[in-house]
Symmetry: C2
Subunit: 352 residues, 2 copies
């Protein structure tokens, strides 16, 4: 703790993202990236972009991109907020909605960035335990709270709540903002954004990183009641006037315009997931029911950490969390069919 640091800094326990090795070729099944390239229109944006535009500041409101996202989701522009990745959008949302007297609630097993945001903004929280099959138990969220955040599908479990359960959660908590973090929603469950008209306490957060194959772009957004969006804008305009750069906006528009490619990639990931699930089950793994672009698995006789290390030694990265309750599980991103086959072959060798 350096004497120049504010009190806050020393107490932070920063988020650690999955390994991003820059110097070696791995089969990378550890950070839930897409195995497929961005939409072909993205390449055209880069080829045709007038670089002189880059000497100008971007539109601080990202109006065009917001209008396109609003149209895509059947909402008004005033109901859409964009940011530099959904991580930034979530950070602003924590500061805007969760700094309350009561603690906020989230599952004991979920996106491990949430407690980090709480430390950054000095927000109290309580973790609500998943049940023994790693499902969210809504009963735990029927108590006084300063807000609720749930990934749906949940990560790293991959298990989703249905629309009826989300409606129940929202109806149970009319006094608090409920954030549904839908990073993985396109791979197999319904978006809560359909409930925006019913609930003014709902904020849905989505990202271009997963189903739009654009993790390297850093573009995320929130959908919700215009009063919630206004709060996010107030925070953003007190932090960075132009969080989304001109190229990112143009690429975001191009990706959104290619629905056919979006659906094709999504369907391929889902098909590979089902195929991989069968193969892993065949090797004795328990595979939790996934609605995401990854599977969460454990083996009855082989420790997750040694499987993780064995795979790494074979040139395959998967995600291992040294965290209570899930320290015998692995999260495996759905790769191409060839990558999934390589994973199965490597596991066969390790298990034999």
């Amino acid at each position: 703790m350096n004497r120049y640091w504010s009190k806050l800094v020393g107490g932070l326990d920063p988020y650690v993202p999955g390994e991003q090795p820059q110097d070696q070729q791995y089969i990378k099944l550890n950070t839930n990236e897409s195995p497929y390239p961005p939409a072909p229109g993205v390449e055209q944006v880069l080829k045709n972009f007038a670089i002189d535009r880059l000497r100008r500041y971007p539109d601080p409101q990202s109006s065009q991109l917001i209008a396109a996202l609003a149209d895509y989701h059947g909402l008004k522009s005033q109901q859409v907020f964009v940011g530099n990745g959904s991580d930034e959008v979530l950070a602003h949302a924590f500061q805007a909605f969760f700094k309350k007297d009561e603690p906020i609630l989230f599952p004991d097993i979920c996106y491990s960035f949430y407690p980090v945001y709480c430390a950054l903004y000095e927000i109290d929280f309580d973790r609500i335990a998943l049940d023994d099959s790693f499902r969210i138990d809504l009963a735990g969220y029927r108590r006084a709270n300063g807000g609720i955040i749930i990934p749906n599908p949940n990560a790293p479990t991959g298990i989703a709540l249905g629309l009826a359960e989300l409606r129940e959660l929202l109806a149970d908590n009319p006094e608090a903002v409920v954030i549904i973090d839908e990073a993985y929603v396109d791979f197999g469950t319904d978006s809560a954004s359909q409930l925006n008209a019913e609930f003014d306490n709902l904020l849905v957060v989505q990202t271009y990183s997963k189903s739009r194959n654009l993790a390297g772009l850093r573009l995320g957004y929130a959908l919700g009641h215009e009063q919630l969006i206004e709060a996010l804008q107030r925070i953003k305009n007190s932090f960075n006037s132009y969080p989304v750069n001109s190229l990112t906006s143009a690429i975001g528009l191009a990706s959104l315009a290619d629905e056919a490619y979006f659906n094709e990639c999504k369907q391929r990931v889902i098909a590979s997931r089902e195929r991989l699930t069968r193969a892993l089950t065949g090797l004795g793994f328990e595979v939790f029911p996934s609605s995401a672009n990854f599977v969460f698995v454990r083996h009855p006789t082989n420790a997750a950490e040694s499987l993780y290390l064995g795979l790494k030694a074979s040139g395959i990265l998967v995600r291992y969390f040294k965290t209570p309750r899930i320290d015998n599980c692995l999260r495996i991103t759905i790769g191409t069919e060839a990558e999934c086959d390589a994973l199965i072959e490597a596991l066969k060798k390790i298990l034999s």
Copy 2:
């Protein structure tokens, strides 16, 4: 104030950037953008970028870009921090260093984002008055404080402190972090980064937006003692793991590699500034001595607000601040020679 907002949100008074009209062609001399395009290498980055890279997350450490910036400034990588525009870097720095018991200090006339950051992070501040010729009076900074931030050259005045004065300011305040915000430093004064080895309480913030002609890219950085950089990383890693996207890093590297183009653009802006200063003086304006890519001016008989409106009606945007002490001044960005000529012609008409 919506019931779902945290207490903080309602009290924010967000920053308002200069107008960025998306729908009309103005001669835009209002947001201190460069009149020249980014380095030619930037276009090559866009033409040659393998879009498949975008499906992967960026390097969370931005290692390559940071190494290049460290090399450029004669520092170690551990002394460099990058962010999504210098606005984001400044925001993190306020949270990392300025949340202290004593109020922080900055000039009464300077970058108007500083009090906004203070509201966002609940930091107390005192404004220290510039003297009557709009110069920073170092005597005002010899008092207990929780930190100091000064733009150098100052904005919107354009007036710079020299290295000896910066050294005095730093030596006077060994207990506090002193941030020198050098958005405009390349247009005519010395960078405090030369003092990094002498002072472990110094943080220098620079940007690609002005002298690198890349306002639309959103790339900024900080230079300082590695303990200060570590604090910024702790904040960043508690906010957004990957603030600088893959394309932005590649473009940042390409720009940095072309020193000749960088110098050429800089020299052209400086030459235009001197020429514009003479022309404005000839029209009766008082022009404050500028070391930046803008001039700050006032006219003895014509009110700044009416000049601003008159210029806007003629298709020329300049920046007018309705703020005590400077509400009779205009800040005018240095444009191309043709844009400066158009400004002078328009002013001649308005003044006649």
